[in-house]
Amino acid sequence: MEQEKNKTYADKLWDFLASVRLAIIIFALISLTSIVGTILEQRAEPAKNIQVLSRLFSESLAPSLYTVFDNLGFMDMYNSWWFTALLILFSVNLIVCSLERLPKIWKLIKDPMVPMSEERLKKFSINREIVLKGKPDTIKNTVTDAIKTARFNYSEAQEEKGYQFYSQKGNYSRIGVYVTHFSILIILVGAIIGVRLGFKGFLNLPEGDVSNAFISNSDKEIPLGFDIRCDNFNVDFYGGSDMPKEYRSRLTILKNGREVLTKSIVVNDPLTYEGITFYQASFGMMPDAATRAVFKFNVISAGGNKATLNLKLGDTFQIPDTNISGKVLDFSPALRIDENGQASTYSNQMTNPAVFIDLSESGAHKVSGWILKRHPETWQLPGGQRVEFIDTWGIQYTGLQVRKDPGVWVVYFGCITMSIGLFIAFFMSHRRIWVKMVEEKNNTRVIIGATSNKNRTAFERTIDKIVSVLNKKQEG
């Protein structure tokens, strides 16, 4: 109490910064404010969050509540000054708390064990006492063997009326907590490196196009330092359904006009070049799809002669060994034919691409109809010839997420450190044991005192095992 009074404000501030209480306050504040951040959509249009607020409260209150929350920074709270301040306070708490406690912990780890008096041993949280027949000198080995069964390497001390053995295990496990704390700092440093030296953006690259820049999240065009070309983009579907199976873009990197790298990327498997990573993020159709489109066909005669053609809308072609010529008249990215046989386009995504071709023989109209990429049965012509619709090209763009984050390896290193720290902190413990043998009228009293900083009951079982080994020896 005396000491408390003499503390200066600086000392009190230091103590507060080192306290578990502050840690708990920070946990609570980060959790509570984050809850608000998940309900209000971050960086969204104001109208969206006003709608959320009017559903939660009332329509008349919502606009003014929105202004209040907006002024408090809740619409982009994870980048707000106060959330950053919370994270800084969190780091300060971690650092000060470690500086405050580590020296004491280090002492606990490093201090050699010393023999204890009987009174002290009896005060330990785990203590046992048994009486064995025989003098300490004759049963010494029985006792040490029992200690060995618990896999302790003991030290020995000669005492006035007997011996004392003492040992410890896992003393270094006490730093597990601090390793964990430190790992959080590493992760935060990695995050700062990412924010300071990295960037985030996107690039919508049409099939066949080359780009040397991307658009940052703040809508600025930023040069890449090399060129990137989209050779092909394709969506695979499960069976005949509209459920996507895979989005695949084939990308080529060009440095000074030379191709240096080609890779097909899919979700979960990005491409990295010069520290910049391109992720498959989205896709879409070009607004001028109809004029850009190139359709790839195989035309096969009844006899099996095959030709591969790349055609644009309005182009004509010839089926080998015949007088049949065809013309590509129309295109639909997602064709549906209803019960009345009426064709319509049901989506502006390339879910079910189809082309309408018109065939004529020696100048006279023969047949016309839709050919679907997904349905081979539409490829067959009445005369046995086939017009296979293989692929479309140049219609779609691939949406790439562009990211550079030199801090990510620091973050991963922090994650590994955290895993190790948590493992030590939760699954290892500092266990100490003292076994004292005292001679008493030709018998020996064995007093065991033990402590464990964690999982006491498990250690208690170990100690009881030692006692039962001693008891058995006694009987046998």
């Binding site: 609570a28 979700v267 973050v411 895993s419 948590l422």
Partner: protein, 360 residues
């Protein structure tokens, strides 16, 4: 015979086990207890078998290789796996502590989840994998998250039991806390049950609960039913508050001590927390970096798992503070599990974001 046969078998076994455990508490006959354990183990074996069969079926169907075809890709499969982890955790506790009475508190959670699956019309079909889930991280991330969830739900049960045992007065904070928590859980389950029963009849079963939740009670268009449900809810809460001590005398008969409950609560969190950190947060971040190009984007699912993480960190630290041992930390453990439930189900049902696989 396919996986669903064995899933059905395990569902029946768990529900039977729940009844047997409750009978065991009521009569405290040892034979009934052994029977309850046997039924639970049989259910567990059959469920394990079913999970591996479904894994095999999925792997054959998708042709992606065994390790990528872990059947943990939608709500149904994740709920099944959650029950599996929970029962495994319970069996470990039963053997470690030689006490069967927790069974009466944990098997009902399993029973309710399984009933939820059947009543809600969650799709049980094996669904093809969306591109974002095709990753080696799926196995590690999802299994570890669910093992942690199961450990946390054990801590919830024992934390609540601890509060029930330790609260003496009706005006105590801890008493109010447990009766309200318990009451809210009971009310939610009952109202959701009514939702499912009525919509199972009225609506196509394949339409999922999302848009029907509480439509028969609190969110009913008719003002009368709305008022009636709220009144009923408050009466239920009052009854639980008024007669809560009955539950206390029931638990006290079981041979469980408050210290034992506190220890199990701590241990399950001490197991769940590192697993959750590694599998849920760290593996999740690595996977997100691979799939979306950011290891952390403050997406609602990510944020809520961080909130959960902070609450359990709060629990672990508050145990070291003077005056916090006992009832206060038990309350933190209970709150932590509410965050788990919200992270798991609430985010998918109520909020939007990148992590939307679990809502179908």
């Amino acid at each position: 015979m396919n996986s669903s046969f064995f899933f059905g078998l395990s569902t029946m076994a768990y529900i039977l086990a729940m009844i047997t455990y409750i009978t065991y508490i009521a009569f405290r006959k040892n034979q009934i207890g052994i029977m309850a354990t046997t039924i639970t183990i049989m259910g567990f074996v059959s469920q394990t078998f079913a999970i591996f069969m479904r894994w095999k079926e999925f792997s054959d169907l998708s042709g992606m290789g065994f390790l990528r075809s872990v059947p943990l890709t939608n709500l149904y499969e994740s709920l099944i796996f959650f029950v599996w982890c929970l029962i495994l955790g319970y069996l470990i506790i039963e053997f470690r502590f030689k006490n069967r009475s927790f069974g009466a508190f944990i098997t009902p959670i399993a029973g309710l989840v399984l009933a939820f699956i059947d009543l809600s019309g969650v799709s049980k079909e094996i669904q093809p994998l969306v591109p974002a889930l095709k990753s080696n991280w799926l196995l590690a991330h999802v299994t570890m998250s669910f093992i942690a969830y199961a450990a946390f739900s054990v801590s919830f049960s024992t934390g609540l039991m601890y509060l029930i045992m330790k609260s003496e007065q009706r005006n105590e904070l801890s008493y109010l806390f447990w009766t309200i928590t318990f009451g809210v859980f009971v009310i939610l389950f009952v109202t959701m049950g009514i939702d499912f029963l009525s919509f199972k009849v009225a609506v196509r079963p394949e339409v999922f609960i999302k848009s029907y939740l509480f439509k028969t009670s609190f969110l009913n268009p008719s003002a009368g039913i709305k008022i009636l449900s709220w009144t009923a809810a408050f009466i239920a809460l009052f009854i639980i508050w008024r007669y809560g001590h009955i539950l206390k005398t029931v638990i006290e008969k079981f041979n469980v001590t408050a210290d034992m409950l506190d220890e199990i609560t701590y241990k399950s969190i001490a197991i769940g927390f590192p697993i959750f950190t590694l599998g849920g947060l760290i593996f999740g971040a690595i996977w997100a970096n691979q799939a979306w190009g950011v290891y952390w984007s403050w997406d609602p699912k990510e944020t809520w798992s961080l909130i959960t993480w902070f609450i359990y960190a709060f629990y672990l630290h508050s145990r070291m503070m003077r005056g916090w041992r006992g009832k206060k930390v038990a309350m933190v453990a209970v709150i932590g599990f509410m965050a788990v439930i919200f992270t798991y189900l609430g985010v998918n049902l109520l909020l939007s974001g990148l992590h939307a696989y679990g809502s179908q």
